[in-house]
Symmetry: D2
Subunit: 407 residues, 4 copies
């Protein structure tokens, strides 16, 4: 057994299959992949990695299994999946995940190929575990898969607390001790025991509050847009292949961006926080419906059209249309007065949170500061935005220059 | 200047009028009045007092004044009011406040008489402050009164964080540093600056989450019911007067309950946590409308009727009908896109929180464990409760015997 | 099983004999005995009680037993002793312990009479535990007694962290997680495993740093002196008996002091922090050797002599001669290169800490502010203090009026 | 003014020259230089960077200046120096500092060239500050230089607390709030005010405890040895120049190690934590005196001799001879009874800490696990170590395989 000191959970005991997996390259690689990607450009202390998060998820899975009374191979399989759940992440985690998916067809939780061969597969087999079944758990399949990836999974219990600890934003401080204690399986569903409507709500609320302030902060989104743009060029104009990209870590990607002439500008800007600004920042009401459903190629076409209309290099315009909000956790289940209910049935807060997610949604157009006025005006026209619900002018006139601005 | 170490705010600097007020008996008395009263019977570490809370409120007021650029006598008056804002509390703070009000006509924020004479009045005058105007601020009157008592007051910013620190329940962990920085005065109203809808929401959510888990936990409510009952008897059957009661501290009251024969049973039960149990625990839908509006005498009459119907001593039946929920904070104001809006207009969460408060509301009937079945049955009949929405049977069959039960 | 939320250890699981003991009066009484007594007059947030501390000690004992692989009745006995280890404390814990000992012959860890009869004895017997053997563990007797009371006991692991949490002074923040993991039994001795010289040193250092700043802060010592004086008068001039005193809690004692005419002055002064000041504050070098060894009666005689010499009422002079420092922890044992060594042999720090304790030692003479000059001058003469090493004049001239002064 | 959220100090307000410096490349580059280098291989959560530390040092400098009453250009110069104090660091901070010094003659605090030209120089000049005088402060020169680099500098106040926060090791948790409040200038010396002997001691103790457990943990030292060895080869066998190396960040260096054939093995081993083991671990008594004084070339010669004697590739043997311990803080000054004294005169602890540093000192010889026995035996002979005081056999037989082993 090894005991590892963690800034969030204090001591984490690692043993069994997890101990053998710990020193494999796929897991150690996560030391070089930041948990929150470009969010560190807003919150400078947020430099934690997927490695320590993976240890935390393993730890909480282990405690949940104990409280649930699950033992033996079944438990060992969950522990392996918990520790390995993030090995499929590319550089900067979610920041370039869509791009990797477009080129390789793999999201980060599709790890059958990654753990189905090599040293990880070997270790799993030595411990009598089938790599495919572990990969299934990582994808959230099966009853126990709910613990690893689901509405009440230990993944979010770790990341909310860890992100709060490292950003300094207190909203993520959920009561994970209570959550792992109160999990139960009822008819194959993972639920929270009697008396925990609040506990379930607090999990949702934590994410709802962290979202605009941390995960979707506009500065992080701008940098993410620039990172994606740079990475696309890297694939397009250098000999880096999508599969190489998928297995890079943060260090590889940033150095690659800096090293190639075609991407050096992005590399420099991202390294030294010389970022584009918001040319447009629009609420959902301002956005024509078909734009909301635009695919990657359509977005690229719009970017070029805006660039032409404003007379700037297309490389200097980024259109950022987030997906429609979804809140997986609203379907989490709790026991109320002896029967299992979906949280959304039980909690009036939950419908409200859904609506609040829509309120917080923003379309962004980003460009270098010296051309952002021109780009903003052109974008409003090209995209057919409703000027009333577009905050572009406010941004320009500095109305937003509050605490929120830097962060 | 004195510098006082505080477990929540680290160092608190006290100077000027506050320094002179610090050593007065009305303020030092708050050392003996617990912040959360009977909540310590649920959360054993929650033994913090109104004294340290008052220092915290003074500290946050001081910082808010700095950020708002308010100086001179005006600021000094607010600092005095912040430090003194709780001197009107009777023993066990809010727990017996209604009872004291019925007998003396004073709530805890009515302090004109308490600070209008004696050493406090003297010190205020020495510093050129009018005691009456300070008392006005304590009552929330006037523009600057909003800082001391209002939707965005520093009182709640301190107590949420402090109660979280001492109970161990993380939900109250708001970002008070941000809140005090973002306060502005616009046309006489205290508002939060641009970009702080979330900040305002987080304040509401913190209280909404702390409420059922901490402030209105059923065990704390049962003990509070017993404390009120005991205190009523103390007034009725001993020579303790309402005005003496109002100026007692927790120690005085508990020892008084223990010392008088008529109340010794309550004194012992409260001292050693030998509490009544829930005989009925009913949602609002289960409760006839007129019962919701019952006054103190009507509640007493119901208690006696239930006692008679179940054949137990009336002293052993407590009917606890909380007031209808209200959420003062929903009318707090934020600047959005340059104009002041009420939070309830801007935030879909806020309406939901209102509704959630109603969901959490519970009527309780409490009695000693050995008679709680009989009392529960009788109460359902006497009060005309709708059995479907009454959780009495669940309580009895132990369905609630989860984590929540002890706490 | 009950799960109790604690602000230090998060969730504490209570089961078995501990669960039955929890609701007994001797244990619940500890809710009304503060952990640090008069220290709250220096650190206003330090209002934690012996009750929550007892739960914490039980929790750490439980974890230590798990790591040590001790199970069954033996473990259950240690858990009972851990939970009960402080039931022998009188009001204000250590503050009046000497006084109670002089009158009853009992220190707080002598609990054979307290748990040998009544409900506690009954519960222990029901669980097959011999009350006398549990009381032996509380006194630190036997191999397992070292866990409850010894150089490496879980008692100090809890109180250091808890006192740091509540005072806000960070020095007590030891790594208790590591300490309980690294305990081993070797030949009947409780020791720390290989690689933990530092861990053992940190425990000593924590206490050495907390001592002058928290436990022996001069303001706490002054108030303690006043509390003892008041309590002595209570025994001398009222019908309160020593055995009644021993079973009082803080509330009882403070109200008793306030209620009796002979002690009302002390009651008021202690309630409202109207304290004596230091008239003398002398290093050990300044103190004649026989004074260091003076017993209670001799100290009383000196007080009267000083009072006479300065022309003040003897009630207004308190002479405070602390015992010579001792550091039990220096004999704690660690494994180094495979063999058990005493920490003091292994660690150069330890001898230094001993010496440092002597450096920090101070004799104090306390009196009301308006007579403290006169009393100080008289005390220097009467006690034969070496003026060079006496800080009396510095105190008077306000040289010490720094951060330290209030606290 | 910008307000930046920090996980240690909560909100940091940046204005004036600091605000303009914030967005320069030399400062932003620190985002890519980890604070603790290879220590993250022991404590996975320790991924904080020199950037956030620099903000923290700026913040504490700012507060110290406020408490000291220093204003105007003088203060602005200190603020600039505090923010810039680490721009001279090469990749992995102190880990390859000696190597860079050997090749460039620059330590990290020699920044005259770095801030004397380019955008930083320009910004300083715009604010009326002389870059050379700012660089002097960074080097600790002049009265105010003591605040930036000296026995009581704000640098160590930040890093102790920050390293504790991120590693999870509590020992660094000093009371920085008190330290910055109690600083005074007396006759040009920065000292702590009356009543702070303990405060000064706590600063030393914190570092003394953090040192073996964090900063000089053997695993971090092994990885550091490998990093230096790899980096030397990078300079020797590729076209990377010393000046390029000095300006690299962590990402550049690790990717460079991985990319060049001559260093790819080190790159891989460091990336995936496939580290050498201790072949020898010897106390100072075991080491011949001339070896303690060996320079870089002599150490290289020993390594080759050990390699030859054990029949392994010289690349696989690392000899790690730390410098003799020094404790700068022991000469920090405190006011005692009105006069300035050096802490080492006043505190018996301080001499002990010096000695303790010698106790903790270890010489290490590292090699891959499969040859570490052979290498260890050869090293004992070649270096003439006293076998009695060499822990080599213990390490091999696993006596140290405790908690300490992984960490």
């Amino acid at each position: 057994m090894k005991t590892i000191k963690d800034s969030v959970h204090d001591y984490i005991e690692v043993e069994g299959v997890a101990l053998d997996l710990l020193d494999t390259a796929p897991l150690q690689r996560l030391r070089h992949i930041s948990q929150l990607g470009t969010v560190t450009l807003v919150y400078p202390s947020a430099n934690h990695t997927r490695f320590e998060h993976s240890l935390g998820v393993y730890h909480l899975a282990n405690r949940a299994l104990g409280h649930l009374g699950i033992e033996g191979q079944q438990a060992e399989r969950v522990r392996a999946a918990a520790l390995l759940h993030d090995v499929g992440h590319g550089p900067y985690s979610h920041n370039v995940e869509d791009l990797i998916y477009r080129h390789t067809g793999k999201y980060h939780d599709e790890v059958h190929d990654l753990i189905g061969e090599g040293e990880v597969a070997g270790i799993l087999s030595e411990h009598g575990l089938n790599p495919d079944r572990v990969a299934d758990l990582v994808a959230g399949d099966g009853e126990l898969g709910q613990l690893v990836s689901g509405e009440l999974d230990v993944d979010r219990m770790d990341y909310l607390v860890r992100d709060a600890h490292h950003t300094g934003v207190p909203y993520g401080t959920i009561d994970h001790g209570r959550l792992v204690r109160e999990l139960r399986f009822v008819d194959g569903d993972l639920v929270l025991d009697e008396g925990n409507v609040q506990t379930a709500e607090s999990l949702l609320l934590a994410r709802a509050l962290m979202n605009p302030v941390v995960y979707s902060h506009h500065v992080a989104r701008i940098a993410k847009g620039m990172l994606r743009r740079g990475t696309e060029r890297l694939l397009a104009e250098t000999d880096v292949t999508p599969n190489e990209l998928r297995r890079m870590d943060d260090k590889d990607l940033l150095v690659a961006l800096r090293s190639h002439e075609a991407t050096a500008g992005y590399g420099r800007r991202l390294s030294y926080r010389d970022l584009f600004k918001r040319a447009v920042w629009a609420e959902m009401e301002a956005v024509p419906e078909d734009l909301l459903a635009a695919d990657h190629d359509e977005v690229r076409a719009f970017e070029e059209e805006i660039a032409t209309a404003s007379g700037v290099d297309p490389e200097l315009v980024i259109l950022d249309v987030p997906e429609e909000p979804e809140m997986k956790e609203t379907s989490s289940r709790v026991i109320v007065a002896g029967e299992v209910r979906r949280l959304e049935e039980q909690s009036t807060l939950v419908q409200a949170l859904r609506a609040a997610q829509y309120d917080q949604w923003r379309l962004g157009v980003y460009a270098p500061e010296d051309v952002s006025d021109r780009v903003g005006d052109a974008a409003v026209r090209v995209l057919g935005l409703d000027v009333e619900d577009t905050l572009v002018s406010d941004v320009r006139t500095g109305v937003h220059a509050t605490l929120d601005e830097f962060q």
